[in-house]
């Protein structure tokens, strides 16, 4: 493969095309107008470069800036804000709003994402019902925060008029909600139960930079199904409808 000339900003991103954490960084770089080189990696078989720059976790994404590694998508997004403070910022300026954006980003990664993953690996029946209920509980908390008295009341996006850190964090992962809904035939984001979250997600998905970053949903669906087959031991005939 030809070596691309280094960009003026010396940014290289090691990531995986289907990984939502990689999407977060790609979207952030696009929103900030920062050019970067992209290196596709296999998340299951980390290359020597990944192991060199992320010896503790061996995970993706890895952002290299002038050869130095910045790890963890939420840390990377803040690094970008702090390194290019005169460009478009992802975090709000008020410390309390910043704390809220970080808090709900952690919630997305520590509570919401695992609960969605649990649905994905659940078996039809009571297990799946309980897993779906857990996702709904988590979405309820978020929905409430977007309503009267909540931290994000009355906003178009979590970041205000434009998408910010929390939009990027939640939005990139939320694609998987749609993918799983189709793969598993479960309703995770019912527009009647979660009208604000649903409206926000549709709005987010319409943004030009988002459409240019997130891969087509049919490709993600194909990928999700393949992963699920692998997880379930590759048995055929797994298309059991949810009861």
């Amino acid at each position: 493969m030809d070596q691309q000339p280094p960009t003026a900003f010396d940014l290289e991103l090691l990531g995986s095309w289907a990984d939502s954490h990689t999407h977060r960084v790609q979207l952030a770089l696009k929103l900030k107008g920062l050019p970067f080189e992209y290196q596709e990696e296999d998340p299951l078989r980390p290359s020597p470069a990944v192991l060199l720059h992320n010896p503790v976790y061996g995970s993706l994404p890895v952002l290299l800036h002038r050869g130095r590694a910045v790890l963890h998508s939420v840390v990377i997004l803040q690094y970008l804000d702090e390194t290019w403070p005169r460009g478009r910022l992802l975090l709000p300026s008020d410390p309390c709003d910043r704390a809220a954006a970080r808090f709900w980003s952690h919630f997305a990664d520590d509570k919401l994402a695992p609960s969605v993953a649990a649905v994905f690996s659940s078996c039809p029946g009571d297990g799946r019902k309980a897993a779906v209920e857990q996702v709904h509980q988590n979405l309820k908390l978020l929905e409430r925060e977007m309503g009267g008295g909540g931290a994000f009341e009355g906003r178009r996006f979590f970041g205000g008029d434009e998408i910010g850190l929390l939009d990027v964090v939640l939005g990139c992962g939320s694609y998987w909600l749609a993918v799983f809904e189709e793969a598993m035939e479960v309703k995770l984001v019912d527009p009647e139960a979660f009208p604000r979250f649903h409206a926000w997600l549709r709005d987010f998905e319409e943004q030009r930079e988002v459409r240019e970053t997130i891969p087509p949903i049919d490709k993600l669906l194909e990928y999700a199904n393949a992963v699920r087959q692998m997880m379930l031991g590759g048995t055929a005939d797994d298309n059991v409808a949810v009861n």
Binding site: V56, H65, R68, V70, L71, H72, V75, I76, Q78, Y79, E82, T83, D94, P95, C96, R98, A99, R102, F103, H106, F107, L141
Partner: protein
Amino acid sequence: MVAAAAEVKLLGMWASPSVRRVEWGLQMKGIEYEYVEEDLANKSAALLRHNPVHKQVPVLLHGDRAVTDSLLILEYIDETWLGMPLLPRDPYRRASARFWAKFAEENCREATKKAFFERGEERSEAIEQLREQLQRLDEELEGKKFFGGVEIGFADLAVGWMAFWLGVSEEVAGFTVVDAKKLPRFAEWMDDFLRVPVIRDNLPPREKTVEFFRYYRDQQLAAAAAAAK
């Protein structure tokens, strides 16, 4: 934006490392605050109102705002009171501090919890994991007195629970992971960290903490055994 001069209150619990971590930060920055002890068996209306998602301490109340999650509270106070910065100024060093804070808070805590509460293979695996994690921390201290460099900073406050509460866990649950011969830099860091006045003067009494953790562990194990029947 809340004026820095507005009243600051911290809802906490005396034995909690996450709460102490916030107190260390507040005291390092010279911020005056009122401390409110919570009875976690009987959580106050204030706690439940201000942290409805996790219902945990610490909660920082600043004027009419509430901030939860100890590491987020530290970032909040760093951004609101600009003197005596906890995080370094350089973006790369900030990213590094956040990385190690996450490592200590998520991976090390998780492994310590398992080593503390689990039995059998799960416990031995957790102990092994913890040893590897401590090795990483030891390596990170190469050429530095503290994670923050010459003085303690955000990363030290994040890892700091290990300087005191890890020993308590080892004693109560009967395992050993801190081997000064294998982790010379980490062992030295523990001593140096505990000697910093703001830390030294802000720790719970050791015997009382050991007693509390012993009681807490016995309770949890009994509950788990009852649930298994």
